[in-house]
Amino acid sequence: MKSLSANLRAVLSSLVALIFMLGLGYFAWTYFGVPEEYKDQTIIGVSVFTMVVIAVLVYQSRKVYESARAIARGMTRSMLEESHELFSELYRNSPIPYLVVDSRGIVDSMNVASARFFHVELNALEGIDIFSFIEAEDDNDKASRIPDFYKQEKNVNEVVTQMRRPDGVCRYVLLSLYPFRDGDGRKRGLLTLVDITKQRKIDKAKTEFVSLASHQLRTPISSMKWNLELLETAMKDSLDENQQQYIEKMNHSIERMDMLVADFLNVSKLELGTLKPEYTQVDLVAFVTSITDEYQSPAKKKNVRIDVNWSEISGIVITDAHLLHMIVSNLIGNAVKYTPENGIVRVEARYDIDHVIFTITDNGIGIPEDEQEMIFTKLYRASNAKSEVIEGTGLGLYVVKEAVQVLGGKINFTSNPGKGTTFTVVLPK
């Protein structure tokens, strides 16, 4: 087959020849004229010549087209081969375990990293159902629905699950499964695994440490509190004024220690990143009522009234009980703490379509305007808070804000110094 350039040259030459001959003919006809008796022959001759040249042109053009197509095919084949080579190398040698499965989840092929992950020889899993290695926790676990998602040709993106290897060892992974159609239109899936066992162990160790610290610190605090209460009760008729003051100070210190431990542990959880929301069903009224009950004692000591309004809420919400406790408890605690004697704290909750909205209002000391931007900052206490109320770590509102963010909610407030503050928290339900 002639090359593309040779065919193109032939087409150009024919075109030039045609244009030249037609031009020459026109010139001769116009300037020299053609005798009357030769006019018909001249026209026929020119027409035949033109048709021949056009036929040659069409033939040459077709040749050009075929050459171009052949070159394009060649290029495409070459590009495809290169691309296939590159993909094969990536697939084979990637540090990420890859497996290709058929429409039922049976392994078609696997790479070196997946053989390493499963602790088997390369290709040892071919012909085996990959879903049989998944260790879902229970039927509600997302991992148990992976085969169904795959059947429906839905992407599975980074589901955390356990895989039990053929040697019986379990590993935590991020599993992704992407269905696709191969060149013959058959359904296939590309499965990837990212081994996160080490990170899980570290997270678990962090959580256990914080939990242990929490329990070990809080138990002696509870013990001191209750035994001091017993001492007060047993000696209430025989304590002089000074002794009563000593006991009062001890109570204060215990409460302060309890608050510090709670705040530091909450901040630790937030900053260690171990505070991942664990959503459970929460009976909202019962839950939040119990939190307000916690603050009835300190409120009564100052003759502060806590008014609650749950009339617009009922039933179950799906949330993280721990984080919800952090938010509501800190806000009510602050309201009681910064409200002077004989004050009122109002706690309300209501729903809109997708949210539960808490409003905590006090008629306490308020927040100075020039300090309002800073109050969610870690360890920040407003100047009037420091001067009027001794206890406080400056961590409470920081913890509230972080907890609200973890739950995907919003918090804002309005405050008038000397008149009071209203916090509004909007949380998804």
């Binding site: 013990s223 509190k225 209750w226 709670a262 929460v282 009976d283 119990s290």
Partner: protein
């Protein structure tokens, strides 16, 4: 033993807290029974048939949820009123606790002995 005194069983593995609770209840005229673990809490409930049990959630070996479930499974235990004690870290278990049969819960570090005694009296209609 004064048979008019209502029996309150305390199931708590921390001895200091167990003793403090028992003292406070006895001071208010109750008969306080002490179980320093979940297994003993089940055995004593079966033997003594208390009117109410104060059960700590987080105990080693047999935890509070298992204790409550055991009470509810048997005739000797199903009528025992139950106040659950929890630390703040156990809050996510509360739904499970209430489903198992807990009547109310208190957070140990937030509640006084007086509060607990009052809740006992309220639950018993006193």
């Amino acid at each position: 033993m004064d048979s008019d005194k209502k029996k309150i069983l305390i199931v708590e593995d921390e001895i200091d807290l167990l003793d403090a609770l028992a003292t406070a209840l006895e001071y208010e005229g109750f008969e306080a029974l002490k179980a320093d673990g979940g297994k003993k809490g089940i055995e004593m409930a079966k033997d003594e048939r208390p009117a109410l049990a104060i059960v700590d959630i987080s105990m080693p070996k047999v935890n509070g949820i298992e204790v409550i479930k055991k009470y509810k499974e048997h005739d000797w235990g199903k009528d025992i009123k139950i106040i659950v004690m929890t630390a703040l870290d156990d809050l996510e278990k509360m739904a499970e606790v209430m489903e198992a049969g807990g009547d109310e819960y208190v957070v140990k570090t937030k509640v006084t002995l007086g509060d607990i005694v009052q809740k006992v009296k309220d639950k018993l209609g006193m």
